[in-house]
């Protein structure tokens, strides 16, 4: 197995007048979970579709598992499991029928393996897919991506339709796949989704890879809005001087502020009072990107 699972080299994709990818250089190592993070329209799905040979690059090249997606497409896709963000199939069949067919396209998949995955995700295999909820449909997609134990999993916004319990189960499945030496490449526009599972994160914006960092580094950079509700009135001064905290405002017993990086100091300061509730917003990606772009100037 080559050390690099996915490599793209100056990958460009034009859609008529708009540009989907603008020179993407990316490397995903074998055996890691790589998260491609970016806002909608940044080029995540375009990248994935190029890797699967569903679309062809305008220029540049890609190599997946050491193979050319175009020339060796069939051989390559045998070793890939793919989950689309929006898992759409003909609803007039049951998950069992669909998964059996898809397994046969791969030369047959052990029915026990399908069964085991369906049980783990609590998926009813005998109801027509059109009668299933969105989350349950997405489970069918998860099963077909994992069932043949592929070397590489390409997952486009994989947990968008899953409830928190299943997101957790999904993360476990991903970690387990990686512990077996498989590679996972996933895209997302939500930082928490990537943080939960990925080892490294590439940030894509306007069709280019702007940064690659470990999840740990990224967490440090993240800035989020935090609200703390106390059981008594507080003053802004108590919190203004805490490292990483800015834009502090207080309304009676409610503190609002912005937090950069680690939450430790803020939590310890808050703990001196009686805390009723803490909410922390999902870090805003646009803000994060803005940071990377103008990092030096701010």
């Amino acid at each position: 197995m080559p050390e690099i699972a996915i490599r793209t080299d100056a990958l460009v994709k034009d859609y008529g007048r708009t540009r989907g990818l603008d020179g993407l250089d990316m490397e995903v190592k074998t055996g890691e979970v790589y998260g491609l993070l970016g806002p909608n329209g940044a080029g995540k799905t375009t990248t994935i579709r190029l890797l699967l040979d569903l679309i062809r690059p305008s220029s540049g090249s890609a190599s997946v598992l050491g193979l050319d997606p175009r020339a060796d497409g069939v051989e390559l896709r045998r070793r890939i499991g793919y989950l689309a963000g929006e898992f759409v199939v003909d609803g007039r069949q049951t998950p069992l029928e669909l998964l059996t067919y898809l397994g046969n396209l791969r030369g047959g998949v052990d029915p026990r393996r399908i069964d085991e995955l369906a049980q783990r995700l609590d998926l009813d295999m005998t109801r027509k897919i059109k009668t299933l909820s969105r989350g349950n449909r997405q489970k069918v997609g998860v099963v077909q991506a994992f069932m043949h134990e592929p070397d590489l999993m390409i997952l486009d916004e994989p947990t968008s339709g899953l409830d928190p319990f299943l997101q957790l189960e999904f993360s476990r499945m991903v970690r387990r796949a990686v512990s077996e030496g498989r590679t996972v490449f996933m895209s997302s526009h939500v930082m928490s989704e990537v943080q939960r599972t990925a080892d490294r994160v590439g940030i894509v914006r306007l069709g280019r890879l702007t940064t690659v960092e470990s999840v740990e580094q990224l967490r440090h950079r993240a800035r989020r809005r935090v609200e703390v509700l106390f059981d008594e009135e507080v003053t802004a001064d108590e919190f203004a001087a805490i490292p990483g905290v800015s834009e502090v405002s207080v309304e009676g017993s409610l503190l609002r502020c912005r937090l950069d990086g680690r939450a430790d100091s803020l939590v310890k300061a808050a703990a001196r009072r009686g805390v009723v509730n803490i909410t922390a917003e999902e870090p805003d990606l646009e803000e994060l990107f803005f940071d990377y772009y103008l990092g030096g100037e701010r």
């Binding site: 569903l54 759409v88 199939v89 003909d90 791969r106």
Partner: protein, 264 residues
């Protein structure tokens, strides 16, 4: 039925395929059963009083014989049109329909080549068309006695149905090819319908125009029953034209499909 894309396509479309087979055999049989009501002196008298040009435009010149009647009303009209509607819709669905529904991606992300998938599905369509042709043949054969359709041999019936099957395959391959090359369902249906309308006009009305007689040779309807296969057996030239066009359309459509981006 879940073994490959050929059987899966038959299975996924079984309701539509069976429905059309039954419908076409039933409607064709029904029209054939009307023959005794046409076959009487008054009707013949009435037809003789029609202007010759009108009869030619309607392809009714030979309507006073069983073969001519079946040609004009069953093959050249009701069954011909029904089978076109079926073939265009089925041919479109093979790629463009699936693509616009967003369900093609998943299959193409599997280890199947685009050519293989497309050809397996097209083969499933062809099997269905043969099935329709055979079902209608059986229905008409059963009616030859009760509906007094005398004087047509089994061989000529079979020849006519070979033409009919190729005629359906031609419209199916046209819609398939446009859909394969563009991924656009509406365009595939529109092109098929446009050619059907042209073909119908070019086989009846247009040749009545002075200097336009040659256009008949370019009508799929003429390839279907020109030369009267029901009376004269297989018309080799027309069979070769239709079979050749099917091969070319499928080849070009599949080639174009292999080269283009698949839509989300």
């Amino acid at each position: 039925m879940l073994r490959n894309s050929f059987t899966k396509w038959l299975r996924d479309n079984r309701r539509s395929f069976i429905g059309w087979t039954v419908a076409i055999a039933a409607v064709g049989g029904m029209y054939a059963a009307f023959w005794p009501t046409i076959d009487n002196p008054q009707m013949r008298q009435a037809l003789e009083n029609y202007p010759e040009a009108l009869l030619e435009a309607m392809n009714y010149t030979d309507i006073a014989t069983p073969a001519g009647y079946l040609n004009a009303t069953v093959y050249g009209l009701v069954v011909g049109l029904l089978i076109i509607v079926f073939s265009i819709s089925a041919g479109t669905r093979i790629l463009a329909g699936d693509e616009e529904a967003g369900t093609l991606d998943l299959i193409l992300a599997h280890p199947v080549s685009r050519t293989r998938l497309a050809l397996q599905r097209f083969a499933a369509f062809l099997v269905t068309v043969v099935l329709i042709g055979v079902a209608l043949l059986v229905a008409l054969m059963a009616l030859t006695g009760p509906a007094r359709l005398e004087g047509i041999s089994i061989g000529d019936f079979a020849a006519m149905h070979l033409h009919l099957i190729l005629f359906a395959g031609l419209f199916g391959s046209l819609a398939y090819a446009v859909g394969a090359a563009t991924g656009r369902r509406g365009l595939a249906i529109g092109t098929g319908a446009g050619i059907a309308v042209f073909g119908f006009a070019a086989n009846g009305i247009l040749p009545q125009v002075e200097g336009l007689e040659w256009i008949k040779g370019y009508s799929p309807f003429n390839w279907l029953n020109g030369g009267a296969p029901l009376r004269n057996g297989v018309q080799t030239g027309n069979v070769l034209i239709m079979a050749g066009l099917i091969v070319v359309l499928v080849a070009v459509g599949t080639w174009a499909f292999n080269r283009r981006d698949v839509a989300v």
